[in-house]
């Protein structure tokens, strides 16, 4: 019974929306919107042929590299900056400024400086999406509990040991919040980086469809991007739940009291 209820809530609204969509395309077919059936068919035809290896996989590859890069750089720098107050105060205005630059704006610049290749694209993704990670890491390091810090010091834990056993795990919840934000930015930047002067990739392909008025294909591309976004979100949730098992348990206990 509980399963049925959960299934109902999961599917009711989406099903209704899809039905409405289907009915409206039957009753009032328009050039701009394909019917659901058409869309699904097009989806598989378009993306599971040679485009899979020529466009989809390379794009996902760049996206993954970008995400990994932004986490590594963001956490690494964040730990460094967060640990030394004078350093943080020195860099704070600069970081605020760089964070406020809309990342797509750097594309024309980087295109000129680095040329148009996958390195530039990955760089754009990293540069644009590391900020939430960096800033959240800095914040997480700053917020290390005083008593936990005293405990580490009084038991003679050296700097490296403190970083590994205290600061990093304690800041993990905050850091992961930043990672989640950076995931959406990374996806956006991946698409944008493929819109100019490239000849392959998801973004490029979808724009080509639009330019050639291949509307169902265009929509299938949008759907694909949505699915990738969803997959990232789901994947992240699993990873987060695993890494932060202790945190969820702790919060559960706190909530009950």
């Amino acid at each position: 019974m509980k399963f049925l209820k959960a299934a109902f809530f999961l599917l009711a609204l989406p099903v209704v929306l899809v039905l409405l969509w289907w009915v409206s395309t039957m009753v009032n077919p328009t050039f701009f919107v394909p019917s659901p059936g058409e869309l699904v068919g097009t989806f598989f035809d378009t993306w599971f042929g040679e485009r899979f290896t020529n466009d989809l996989l390379p794009s996902l590859g760049r996206l993954s590299l970008g995400i990994i890069g932004s986490v590594v750089v963001g956490v690494g720098l964040g730990l460094l900056i967060g640990s030394f107050r004078p350093l943080r105060q020195l860099l704070e205005p600069l970081l605020e400024f760089f964070r406020a630059i809309p990342p797509p704006v750097l594309l024309p610049l980087l295109m000129i400086v680095m040329g148009v290749n996958w390195r530039m694209q990955v760089f754009v993704i990293i540069f644009g999406s590391l900020w939430p990670v960096l800033l959240n890491t800095v914040e997480g390091v700053r917020a290390t509990d005083e008593v936990q810090r005293d405990t580490a010091r009084s038991y003679g834990l050296g700097r490296m040991a403190r970083l590994r056993y205290l600061i990093l795990p304690a800041a993990a919840p905050q850091i992961l919040t930043g990672v989640r934000q950076s995931l959406s930015i990374a996806l956006i930047l991946m698409v944008i980086s493929e819109l100019f002067y490239t000849s392959s990739g998801l973004g490029f392909t979808i724009v080509q469809f639009q330019r050639n008025f291949a509307i169902p294909e265009m929509w299938s591309g949008i759907l694909l991007l949505g699915l990738i976004g969803l997959a990232l979100a789901v994947l992240f949730r699993y990873v987060e739940r695993y890494i932060l098992r202790w945190y969820h348990g702790l919060r559960e206990v706190q909530r009950e009291s």
Partner: protein, 276 residues
């Protein structure tokens, strides 16, 4: 074994601590004016005083977590400039002192890991320590899954496994219910006897200080000085029921209570200076 011929484990002489003014408008706070006492090896000393008497400040200075403004602080003859290696501290806020991302056993082993002990040695010590505090079954659980009293036992086990020369305890049972507190007090005495470790126990609970200690140091109000130094001449074997109803216990308790009332009323260092 007279105190003069052997070096005391802990020497506090003329300790002074002033907190600088946080803003130009505020005033600097003289938390501790002059504290002088020494603790011989293996003694269980309790420190009591009114609220705000700088008990925690004193403990932090001794623990090397806070630099003193003036005075001499020596552990086994060596000046204390940072957290000493042969000292272990049990904090009041057990919930914030144990690391929630590690299991109980991992928490107990962490200082040992940092000190470079081998895996087998660590495992052996932590298992023994957990057994000593009665938590062998909880080794694989997480601190937040345990009750307050049990968490504090884990903190004690961590200190025990570390095998310190001197054990500092900062009002460790203040946040624990009365029943559990009684058990924990007995645990402290048991461990103290078994390990022969020197214990400095800070508390605001007068009964607890008399029950536990061989000696009770009473602190005055801010700016803090030593108000009184009382030897507890109760028998070595103590238990919650009989000891607490012992007439000598009541006398000592009464005396210390009176001292604290005096301490509360005045500004300690100023009163002494005025009467000098």
């Amino acid at each position: 074994m007279s105190p003069e011929t052997t070096t005391p484990v802990l020497l506090v002489e003329g300790l002074r601590k002033i907190y600088p003014a946080p803003t130009p408008q505020a005033e600097a706070v003289e938390a501790i004016r002059d504290l002088t006492f020494s603790i011989p090896q293996g003694q269980l000393v309790c420190i009591v005083g009114p609220s705000g008497a700088g008990k925690t400040t004193l403990l932090k200075c001794i623990a090397g977590l806070l630099p003193a403004t003036a005075g001499r602080l020596e552990l086994e003859g060596k000046a204390i400039t940072g957290p000493p290696k042969t000292m272990a501290v049990v904090f009041q806020e057990y919930g914030r002192s144990l690391y929630p991302w590690m299991s109980v056993q991992a928490n107990v082993e962490l200082p040992l890991k940092a000190a470079g002990l081998s895996k087998t040695e660590r495992r052996e010590r932590s298992t023994d320590a957990l057994e000593a505090v009665g938590l062998s079954d909880a080794a694989d659980q997480y601190p937040w899954q345990l009750s307050g009293g049990m968490q504090q036992r884990v903190a004690i086990a961590r200190a025990v496994a570390y095998r310190p020369q001197i054990l500092l305890m900062d009002e460790p049972f203040a946040a624990v219910d009365a029943q559990t507190r009684a058990d924990l007090e007995d645990l402290v005495r048991k461990i103290w006897k078994e390990l022969g470790v020197t214990v400095l126990f800070v508390t605001h609970d007068i009964d607890e200080s008399v029950y536990l200690g061989q000696r009770v140091i009473v602190l005055s109000n801010r700016p803090t000085v030593v108000q009184d130094d009382v030897t507890i001449d109760l028998p070595d074997e103590r238990d919650q029921l009989s000891t607490r109803s012992d007439p000598r216990f009541v006398e000592l308790r009464h005396h210390i209570y009176g001292e604290i009332q005096r301490a509360k009323g005045n500004r300690g260092g100023d009163e002494q200076a005025a009467s000098a």
